[in-house]
């Protein structure tokens, strides 16, 4: 059970929902659960090989999953997963 924070640009694929509770015990499971719940989100999160796209970073707590166990990073009930996409407005 972790909370995923959805950034504004991707909220159009989550019915404008800002946070989603998931049951997965790893980042991979949590994100896949999110993508199953909101199928339109999937193509924006993953490339064709299933890898998280390079303009999106995933953080568990304050840390990038690339510096943790990547998609296998464990999450628990109180974990906050942040999806941070590149934005360019100025």
């Amino acid at each position: 059970m972790s909370k995923i924070i959805i950034p504004t640009p991707l909220r159009k694929f989550t019915n404008q929902t800002a946070t989603i509770q998931t049951n997965g015990t790893t980042v991979q499971a949590a994100i896949e659960e999110l993508a199953t719940k909101f199928p339109d989100l999937k193509q924006h999160l993953f490339d064709q090989s299933g890898t998280i796209r390079s303009f999106i970073r995933i953080f568990v707590g304050d840390d990038d999953i690339q510096s943790l166990e990547k998609e296998a990073t464990k999450v628990s009930q109180h974990t906050i997963i942040s999806i941070v996409p590149a934005i360019a407005g100025g």
């Binding site: 970073r57 590149a86 100025g90």
Partner: protein, 383 residues
């Protein structure tokens, strides 16, 4: 010891800095000796330029090719009604000279490109990125890396803001991550709209640009702990703030030269509009003629209801995401003109309707309601 001195007027102006123990006249001297380039004088550039000028950064360069537009004034607080239609850099220089005559302002009324970036940026100690598009952000980043200068980054979209300090070498000689370490590649065109397309809450660039200005001052004076190696993320809607740790990406290809950033970001100047050319089109003049001659045709508007409230040309409102369900409302027997704001969404609607229902009578209004307002009816608002 520096030879930089201050006049009586300057000492009085900066007195609130000078009495901060960890800032004092040494910090003010560093600001006065500094050379900062602000790329983009829009939403982020406005607070950046105002605060850096007020604070007494000695030499400020401004790069922008745009002119002031009415739609800028909701957030670009550097400008006023009297500046509309004028080059932004000229209006900015005039305002900033009035704010602080002790600051040397140099303007570049040009687009930053791979050809001119290094030449413009080489004379500066630091760049503050207030641009509004991915190609220029990668260009600014790569040029900063090549020149070995820090890039104080800020970015906004609707209610989201981000701030960081890239390519910063700290007092121990440790070089922090750059923009490509965080985002190796940009999103495909169209996924993340610009502020012009997606909107932005007017106060947000004021908040984010002010945070950037604070980071610029910290980098220049060496006080405090900069955002190097960290990304500050702000959601103005929920007031969630996070400061996330970012690090160098060991797999990142070294940056050795400036490239074609339009191409890198998937923005081809010749082949990026297949939808626009694969559907039948009608000009705003032709639409105007249809209306004037009372021709029997149907006009469909596929924008959102909140856009319809800004401006409309008597089309039937069927938002793009409902167009398939509502296809029964669209005639197959007469000419149907479909429009949106500028022509992209209406082309998408036509492609979907032709594919799913075999329509052959649909025409996309070239340039959308914007073109109609600009070319046919000047009383209509543009947005």
């Amino acid at each position: 010891m520096s030879n930089t001195t201050f006049s009586k007027e300057e000492l009085e102006r900066y007195s609130r800095h000078l009495i901060i123990p960890e800032f004092n006249i040494a910090g003010q001297r560093k600001l006065k000796e500094a050379r900062v380039l602000v790329v983009g004088s829009g939403g982020l550039g406005s607070p950046l330029l105002l605060y850096l000028t007020a604070a007494g950064v000695g030499h400020i360069g401004i790069v922008d090719f745009d002119v002031v537009d009415d739609s800028n004034l909701q957030r670009q607080v550097l400008f006023g009604v009297e500046n509309v239609g004028k080059p932004k850099v000229e209006a900015a220089k005039q305002r900033l000279n009035g704010l602080n005559p002790h600051v040397d302002i140099k303007v570049f009324n040009t687009m930053l490109t791979s050809e001119n970036a290094l030449e413009i940026m080489k004379d500066y100690d630091l760049v503050a990125d207030g641009t509004d598009n991915f190609p220029t952000r990668y260009l600014v980043n790569d040029a900063c890396v090549l020149l070995g200068i820090p890039n104080v980054y800020g970015s906004i979209f609707r209610f989201d803001g981000q701030v960081s300090v890239f390519n910063y070498t700290d007092a121990d000689g440790h070089l922090g991550p750059n923009y490509r370490d965080l985002f190796p590649e940009p999103p495909p065109p169209g996924l993340v709209p610009s502020c012009a397309e997606g909107g932005v809450i007017g106060v947000l660039p004021g908040i984010i640009g002010s945070l950037q200005a604070n980071e610029v001052i910290k980098v220049l004076t060496g006080i405090g702990k900069t955002l190097s190696g960290r990304l500050f993320v702000f959601d103005a809607l929920t007031f969630e703030t996070r400061t996330l740790n970012i690090s160098k990406n060991p797999d990142l290809q070294p940056i050795t030269e400036l490239i074609d950033y339009q191409q890198f970001c998937g923005i081809s100047t010749t082949s990026n509009k297949p939808e626009a050319t694969s559907v039948k089109e009608i000009s705003v003049q032709e639409l105007h003629q249809l209306k004037k001659t009372n021709t029997d045709f149907q006009l469909i508007d596929v924008r959102e209801p909140y856009e319809y409230e800004i401006v409309q040309i008597n089309g039937e409102l069927i938002p793009l995401n409902t167009v398939i369900q509502e296809a029964g409302r669209i005639s197959k027997d007469k000419k149907v003109v479909i429009h949106c704001r500028s022509g992209k969404r209406s082309a998408d609607a036509i492609i979907a309707l032709e594919k799913n229902f075999g329509f052959e009578n649909l025409y996309n209004l070239k340039g959308g309601v914007l073109a109609y307002a600009n070319e046919i009816d000047a009383s209509l608002a543009t947005y």
